[in-house]
Symmetry: C2
Subunit: 345 residues, 2 copies
């Protein structure tokens, strides 16, 4: 993924020299971006089966994975709110606030890594983090499997999802199943996907101008590939450091993962797909207005003061990245029995 | 509803004198209980339309009805957990605990009134309570409509649901729409419904014995009608007062509504439908074991020490009250815009 993205960026650098006609625009865009598929991507080493997918959906909505039995994956990655939670930072156990804005789960399978700092290599690894993060779901590592074992209805569900395993009801298998479900949370057929697939009328005139600006100004140097972002890391404030309200010095970004000084203030470039659905923006969640976010990015990343008209057009283009939202039936969870471990009070 | 229930109870008093054969059992049961319909009941004065139902479903899952934007109706009336939340008492705003166990929303349309103390006359009135309860969703009365007006996608949804109204985006209309959706949350075709509908094999031998005991012991004096409960009020501890852990004296029950001394410790008799899915039990949520709940009810309400064998059979019968759970597709909620009111932090 990263390799392809970087190659695309190199192509972009060349293409930007020529003025953009209608066909040229589509040609250029196809060099930088890729439409979403209409079916879920396969996860290496974690094949999807109907049983695993069904289990993963249950677990995604399972509040008993949290110590309080009140917080599920869907609490912060709400399928009705663009796969995020419309909060600056999420509310976790005991009403603690998480450290960073909840990223959308939609299309996350296409990201180069997970979390703002990329500390999880894939969906499966990510899924295990919030369950045991003390400010999020706050379970203990050992409790997750015990909790699930204490709900008898999960026994058959895990056995069916992980056939042949002697002890399938485990946190690690829960992570696998959740990852398989999350990989289905894709949002194909956005106007921009239809444009990339050859429908020149899928974008309005203003959206096309916004797309041209998005490429010419250099937004697409980072926000490119299949997820229009999500493929690489970048330093927030590469051109001009934003104010501390947007870049508080208590958070060093990817530096916390790599301990490499060059990773200070470096974050995974977020996807811009469905961006109109997932305010507030940035890792702090401090910006609620997409136009302001565009302006701030132009200044901090590109050193450009863009005009209100340019902001309008780029924002119009960003609205073309909203695709078909996942249609998910609410799962019926297996009930507690008398011996099921109780929630923390 | 109440009238029918009381009439049925009177019939029961006569019928209990004779020994129960198989046909007798069905005949007697039909005098006391009623199967659920397979379609949602109509709500007086609040007709269902596709637009109102669709809006109501969105609002049921809408966390922005709460001050934090993190708590929705579904948080405490989880469609995957029998319409309740598997907590002793629910977690609300700022992690405060609610005063009483969250009752199931399933089949609630058939209850004589809403809340444990019956303080809301119907679903529509109930739906407005938690939104503005400071320990639950904690919005202000005036904020709910303003919040919804601040989400542009709701304008058309409310106009379609309430055609011809000049200002349809209001809290009271939200309550109407939610009520219409909640009326669809019924769980028909439980084994006991099939039995009442004439299928003598729908219950096991043990369940039939449990049903006979349920009627003979007097459980059905209160738990009867279409909801096997929900049709009347009763004093908790009518025969023998339970311990303060089950009947804390800080909660006087329906007395708080009527100020009538005879309503001290009086609560609405809860439905027993889907009771195996909705532990913990009682208004305190202090009992996690359904067998213990049966034993406690027999002692406190009927003054009877029932045997372990009787408890087994009655509990088996109660398991026959679990019906088809509602199949609901997760709604896509209209997104925030820059001017949408922000969550309380």
């Amino acid at each position: 993924m990263l390799k392809r993205v970087l190659a695309a960026a190199a192509v972009s650098g060349v293409a930007l020299a020529s003025p953009a006609g209608a066909d040229d625009l589509m040609t250029k865009a196809r060099q930088l971006f890729e439409p979403l598929p209409k079916t879920a991507p396969a996860l290496p080493g974690n094949p999807s089966t109907p049983a695993k997918l069904d289990l993963g959906k249950k677990l995604f909505f399972e509040p008993r994975l949290s110590a309080s039995h009140a917080i599920s994956c869907n609490s912060c990655h709400n399928l009705g709110l663009g796969g995020a939670d419309a909060e600056p930072t999420s509310i976790g156990h005991n009403w603690q606030r998480g450290g960073r804005n909840s990223p959308t789960v939609f299309n996350a399978a296409f990201n180069v890594a997970q979390f703002w700092d990329g500390r999880a290599k894939d969906l499966e690894e990510q899924a295990g983090g919030p369950m045991i993060n003390p400010v999020e779901m706050a379970s203990l590592e050992s409790q997750v499997g015990e909790q699930l074992k204490g709900i008898p209805g999960y026994k058959a569900a895990f056995s069916d999802a992980f056939p042949g395993e002697a002890d399938p009801v485990t946190k690690s298998n829960a992570q696998k199943a959740i990852a398989v479900f999350e990989a289905t949370l894709i949002t194909p057929d956005a106007p921009f996907d239809r444009f990339l697939n050859g429908d020149a009328n899928a974008l309005s005139a203003s959206q096309k101008e916004g797309l041209a600006l998005f490429m010419e100004k250099g937004c697409s140097d980072c926000h490119n590939g299949i997820n229009i972002g999500g493929g690489r890391y970048a330093q927030f404030g590469a051109a001009i450091k934003p104010g501390v309200e947007y870049l508080p010095q208590s958070d060093k970004g990817r530096f916390a993962v790599t301990k490499d000084a060059s990773d200070e203030n470096v974050y995974k470039v977020p996807t811009l797909r469905n961006i109109t659905l997932t305010a507030p923006y940035f890792h702090t969640g401090k910006v609620w207005d997409l136009r302001q976010a565009v302006q701030l990015m132009a200044a901090s990343q590109l050193g450009e003061q863009i005009t209100p008209g340019e902001i309008d057009k780029i924002t119009d283009f960003l609205a073309s990245l909203t695709g078909d939202q996942p249609q998910v039936s609410y799962p019926i969870l297996p009930p507690n029995v008398a011996s099921t471990p109780k929630p923390a009070l």
